[in-house]
Every structure is written in C-alpha cells, then in structure tokens.
Amino acid sequence: MSSPVFRGLAVAALAAAIPALPLAAQELRIGFASEPSSADPHFHNVGPNNQMRRNLFESLVGTDEAQQLLPLLATSWEPISDTAWQFNLRQDVTFSDGSPFDAHDVVYTVCRIPGVPDSPSLFTTYTGGIVDMEVPDPHTLIVHSAEPYPLMPTEFSTFGIISARANGVDGAAIEFSPDGCGDLNYPGTQAFNDGSAAIGTGPFLMESFRRGEGITLVRNPDYWGEPAAWERVTMLPLTSAGPRVAALIAGDVDLIENPPLQDLERLRSDDSLRVVQGISNRVIYIHLDHEQVPSPMITGTDGVNPLQDIRVREALSIAVNRDAIVERIMGGVAVSAGELLPPGMFGAHEEGDLPPQAFDAERAQALLAEAGYPNGFGITLGTPNDRYINDAQVSQAVAQMWSRIGVTTEIDASTASTFFSRRNAQEFSAYLAGWGAGTGEMSSPLRALLATRNPDTGMGGTNAGRYANPEMDAILMEALRTVDDAAREQLLRDASRMAMEDFAIIPLHYEVSPWAMVATVDYTPRADQYTLPYDVRPAQ
C-alpha cells in the first residue's frame, strides 16, 4: 500500500467520501445529445456550437425562450435610416481577460467572420449584407447595408463578440470594408479549443474543452449581469439516447436534453425527476416536386407530374390525419401544423387563424378523381431515418394514409448523410424534412423552402421541390425590406397564407422538445431547442 499510486487512490477515495454539499449544490452536470465541433464561436454555424458559444461569447442582441429579441451587449437599437441601424452598447462590460468591451470589438468580430480557415459553415450568412460600420463613439455602433435590412438586429443575435485588444489589435485603427479589413491578427480555431483565446463577455469561463469527453465551464466572477447560479458546469456529450436517460436516472447528470419519447412516461412517474417540454421553432413538412416532368418517383401517370395540379396537392394534404400522427406516433409530444411556424412566433398566424388542414379522406378521393386520377397513382416518399424525432415512422404513417386514398406510396428511408445529398439533387418527388426557424420569424422558412430559387439572392436555398410563385415572392421581398415590425408581420402572414392556400407544401407538425432533470433544478423550454446552463435554475 506504500506505492504513490495506491496512496493517491486512498486519498482520492477519502476525498470522495467527505460530503461537500455546498460545492455539489453549485455544480451542474448536463448530458447533451450532440457535441460542438469547436469552441471557436465563428468556426461552424451549427446548433451545438451556437448553443455552446452563448455561455462564453455574448452577441449584441439576445433571444428569449420564444426567440423574441432581448438587449444583451447592446442595450437598445433602432433604424436611423432605411439602410442603417444604430446599436447603443452596454457600458462597463469587460472581457474575461479584463479588456473593456466597446464597438470596435464588434467591428473586429465582423472582420474575422469571413476568413475563418477550414470552416465548414461560415457566419457570412448573417454578416454578408453589411456594407459599412461606423463607430461615432466607443459605445455607439452604426451599421449600414446596401438595402433595407429589417432583420439586422435578429442576425446580430447569431454571432458572439470577441475582443480586439485581447488579440493584440487596436480596435480604433480598424478600417472596415466588406471585402476584408486589411491584415489583422486573428486567433486560430485551435486557440479557442485550447482555451487561450476563449475570452468573451459571457456568464461562464471555459475551463476545458475535451472532444468526446466534455466541456467544463466555471462561473465568470466579473460578469456584468446576474452571476450564474452554478460555480461549475460540466457538459457531457451523451449522444445515444438510452445511455443519456440512464445517466440521469443513475444520478450521473442533473439534466439531459432530448430524452426519447418512449421514456417520457417513465421519467414523469419518478418523483425525484422533472420533465418539461415546449413547442420548438421546427416544423416537420412534406415538400412536393413542382418542377420536374416527369417527376422521378411517380408512376402510373403517363409521364405527367400530378403534383403540379393544386387539387392533387390538396388531396395529399387533407388525406393526412395530423392529429393521429401526433397522438400515436409522437406520443402527444408534438403539435399539428397549419403553416411553417407555430402560433406566437413572429409572422405566424394567431392560434386558430390558419388551422391545420382537417383530415377528410373522402374529399381527398373526390379531388383526385376531379383531377383525373380516379385510380390514384404511385409515388415514393423520401425520408431521413435518424434526423428528426420518429421521422421514418411518421413517413410510414403518411404513406399508409396516402395509400388509403389510392395514391400507392412507398417509403425510401436513408440516413441523414445520404438523404440530404439525394434531396438536394432532386431525386425525390416528395420528401419529409424539417425546418427550424433560426431567426424565429416566418421569413426564415418562407425564404428557404418556398421562395423561388435564386442562387444569386440566396432565396429558396432549401426549396428542393422548386415551388415558384412570383406573387408570393413579391410579398415576401417586400416584407424583407420593411423595417416597421407591425407592417412586416402582416406581410409575412399574407405570404404564408398565400402559400398555404396554394398547398405549396404540406406542413405536418411542430416538434415539441422535452428536457428531463432532477427535481432540484428547473429549466424553461426554449423554442430554439438550446440548453443553456445560465438559464437552468435551482428549483424553488
């Protein structure tokens, strides 16, 4: 027992045996369903990374649970002309290395974004519209765009701010230009991962970032806002659902995201656990091929694409019993959808104004007959089988419902990595997929899924059904240029209604995201499905 190893073991065992309640009470362990690919806030524009970055690097504008905008590093913002926004920045904020935060740091951040090496997905999506930035005084920032840009504050909520001074750059000397800001020194992605450049204004500091093993955060003692409730947060990547639930029940973690539906009942029945759930910004939909003649996976129509007929599209939509899918396949943990964004979010209709299409198989059959397909036709529905909650099962159910009205439907299910490549190559006549409105407003799904595809303007980027409706495009474009919120919201509603009445796409349901946790903590569900340790509270 005298070897150093054994002595170490004995000490460790003893230390573990001494109860350290106050400390343990301030420690939070979270089991995550996915892992960020890097700690660099600008390396990869993807959910897990953006969720992680909010702990360390704050953005000018924040978003609340329903994705409404909140002041964060900017205390207020307003349009000062058709093409310029002014952001008034918070005073007395410092980065974790002690350097003060000011408008030059924002300019420096926007300068870094287009040039992050080896990035699989840049944030230029949100900064590409900026043509100039002005800093009249250190806590005022004026951002110019070429065209009216009502979404600018929303898009300033997507990227975290890094410090110019901490990276040896004199912020005041930066000459902003949309094509690059000259030869500035930027930290490498590796420097964020090893922690040396992980300098932000957020409520936490990064203690370690270890791929596969987890990330540890500690409270930022100098945070400008209410200090975090947790001295220490351990974020463990538990990517398989079963082991994630087991870890919660075994007491190895305090909170998990995305417990699988089949376990919710059991978790709810346990008094020492708490389950919360909230509607997300993600709609599950079926997109139809509006363009190709003949459409690749349709049989029995002599080369005609029946989906170009609005009566057929309506028939396919009302043949789907959405409530049955929600009830039986989603276990009640989903909400039937009438458009592409749930009620309560910006640009969506009020509850009941644009309700989900009611199930009516008889009328669907009549519509098919009217369209000239009394005996139906054959179609294959493409679907991923590991991307959305119960995606393949939902597709199976839709296939049965369609077959019942005479549209013989087969399923072509594949793993996400194959599915999305095939979908983008327009291999499917109909496919199931999901869309999360990153900006939390109706312009996001309309622009991506239904606007006429135009690679130059970036419209219709995920419109693999190639829906094209110039009238709707016009309303949408006007909305995207309207800075006044009330007017914009009305335009977005009009555009959405127009597309839904044209049966451009078949919305199925909105995903509801659950979280499970020990009863001693509480979390408010977020529409963006993020799990943010700062918002996890000790239960009352």
Binding site: V5, G8, L9, A12, A16, G31, E35, S37, S38, F43, H44, N45, V46, P117, D118, S119, P120, S121, L122, T124, T125, Y126, G128, T189, R210, R211, G212, E213, G214, L236, P237, L238, S240, P243, A246, A247, I249, A250, G251, D252, V253, D386, T415, A416, S417, T418, F420, S421, R422, N424, W435, G436, G438, A448, R453, P455, D456, T457, G458, G461
Partner: protein
C-alpha cells in the same frame, strides 16, 4: 527469415493501398459532407464557396490524386468537421481506447483463466458444465445489450458505479489516462467488463481445453505421485503450460479490441477512437474515416507481423517451412 519478412511487408503495403482506394471512393459515393455540415440558412453561393474550400468542386479522380499525393508526404488531410489534422485528432482519442482495451484484456484473463482451469479440472462434473454453458452467453449476447444491462444493474439500480463518461484523468508520460485515478478507474469498470465478456469466454474455453489435456500428461501424474496438493499442481504446473496458446490468441484479439470497441464506447459515452469513427461516419468526415481505417489496418499488420516473428522464433518448424518455401 529476411525473405519471409520482406514478403510479409510487401503484402501489407498492398493491403494498405487497396484499403485506401476502397474507403476513399466508398465514402465519396455516400454523399456530400457539405450538405450536412453547412447551416441550412446558408445561401447557394456560400455552399459553393464551402465546396471549393474543401476541394469538392474538383472531379473525384483529382480529389483522390491530391489525397494520395498528400498521403505520401504523411498528411492524411484535415477533418472537415473539426478543422484539425485527422491523424492528430485520432491520436488524441487513442489513449482512452488503449487503456480501455488493456483493462478489458486484464479482466478477460482474470475471469477467463481461473474459470477455464476450474472447468477443465471438473470437466465431467456439474461445475464444469455450468461454466461452459455460461461461456456460451459470453459469446452470444450482443455487446450493446450487455452494456445497457450493466448500466441498469450497477449504475441505475445499485448505484455502485458511474454509468457514463471518463471521470478524472491524470497526465502520465504526456498521455491523459483514467486508469490511475480512483474516479477514472470506477468509470472504466463497466465498459471494460462489457468489452471483456466475449474475450473472457474465449479464454475460458481455451483454458479448459488446455487444462484437460495437461491433466493427462505424465508430469501431472508425477506431481500427484510426489504428493503435491491439487491446487499447487493446477496453479503452478498446469497454468504455466496452458498460457502459451492463450497469450497468442489474446495478442490477436487485442487488435480487434482496440479497433472495434465502437459499440461499447458508444453505450458508455467513452471518448475513444471508436466513438470518433461513428461520429465521423455520420457526418461523412472523409479524412478521419480514411485515416482511422488505415491506422486500423496498420495496427493489425503490425500485430500480425510481431506474432509471426515470435512464432518463427519460438517454433523452429515454422522457420524451417518459411526457408524451404
């Protein structure tokens, strides 16, 4: 001997090249990584630029040639997902897998050898038959299921051991290891046991066969005649003689334990190479997949080579055959 080694090396290089071609084109055909990695909000122009950044806009044979060109200079590319060199990424996951495989190996010997020797000693009695029947479970139960069962019993119900993760680590000779901390070791027990179950059954069967054979040998009869205790005969004399084939087999199995601990690592969220491989396959991270499988091939080749060399050293008959050919 030299001819034998050279021939072996030439074969290995051929296997490596074939592997590289198959994996590269296989992964290429599955899909386009940019389709999964890029934000759905990205504009078509950004998608094009990202494709160009990774070289996906080039025809596949050009992509392959530039990959081979870099590989010959020892560069297997950078991970699309992590932006880091694929090889250093894999190496950073390696210590976790190695220590898990090693502990698994130790468990399989500690469980398998005593059970096997005892089963051989009591071959015709119920104890021996019970052990042999039990070992069938070890062979046939799927790893995933066993892992979940262990978690349910030891972590969820009894709460003796943690269900997931790696626990505390310490740095030993520049490698971060769990095996030298109490907390880390407690995290290793369940995954190592899961990994060891199959090998332990294998060892049990080998040890039983060996023991049965050894018990009929003259030296055992002589030892008994000398009046040595049964325990001493088994532990000292029999054990020594049956260990050679067991070690040979375990040496080979170590390779598969390192390379294919995927399932166990996924169930226990153990941050080893197997988990990296699965994640990389799901995101079509081609450089990592190719580098991982090439590394696996190298591990197998090296282990096989070492085993062959040891054989020729231990057993003159192999050497003679090799020279005659």
């Amino acid at each position: 001997m030299l001819v034998f080694l050279l021939r072996r090396l030439a074969q290995s290089v051929f296997v490596l090249i074939a592997m590289m071609i198959v994996v590269f084109f296989g992964v290429y055909m599955v899909g386009n990584p940019v389709d999964i990695l890029i934000s759905p909000d990205a504009t078509p122009r950004e998608i094009e630029e990202t494709m160009a950044r990774f070289g996906f806009d080039q025809p596949v044979h050009i992509q392959f040639l530039s990959f081979v060109g870099n590989a010959l200079q020892g560069d297997l590319g950078r991970s699309f997902v992590h932006g880091e060199s694929a090889v250093s990424l894999i190496l950073s996951y390696m210590p976790a897998t190695l220590e898990l495989a090693l502990l698994g190996l130790i468990f399989s010997v500690l469980i398998g050898v005593p059970l096997g020797v005892y089963a051989g000693y009591k071959a015709d009695r119920w104890q021996g038959r019970a052990i042999m029947t039990g070992s069938i479970f070890g062979f046939s139960l799927p790893n995933f299921w066993v892992g979940m069962l262990f978690i349910l019993i030891f972590a969820v119900e009894l709460r003796w051991l943690p269900s997931t993760g790696r626990g505390d680590t310490v740095e030993v000779l520049g490698l971060r290891l769990s095996i030298f901390t109490a907390d880390g070791l407690s995290h290793m027990i369940l995954p190592a046991l899961t990994l060891a179950l199959y090998k332990a059954s294998l060892v049990t069967r080998l040890a039983r066969a060996g023991t049965q054979e050894a018990l009929m040998q003259d030296y055992v009869k002589f030892a008994r005649a000398k009046g040595l205790s049964e325990t001493r005969i088994l532990v000292v004399h029999v054990l020594k003689n049956i260990m050679i084939p067991i070690i040979t087999v375990l040496g080979l199995e170590l390779g598969s334990m390192i390379a294919f601990a995927v399932v166990t690592e996924t169930v226990f969220a153990w941050p080893g190479m197997g988990k990296l491989l699965i994640d990389s396959i799901l995101t079509l991270d081609r450089p990592v997949i190719v580098a991982y499988l090439m590394l696996t091939v190298i591990i197998f080749i090296v282990i096989n080579l070492i085993v062959d060399v040891i054989y020729t050293l231990l057993d003159p008959r192999v050497r003679v055959k090799g020279e005659a050919a």
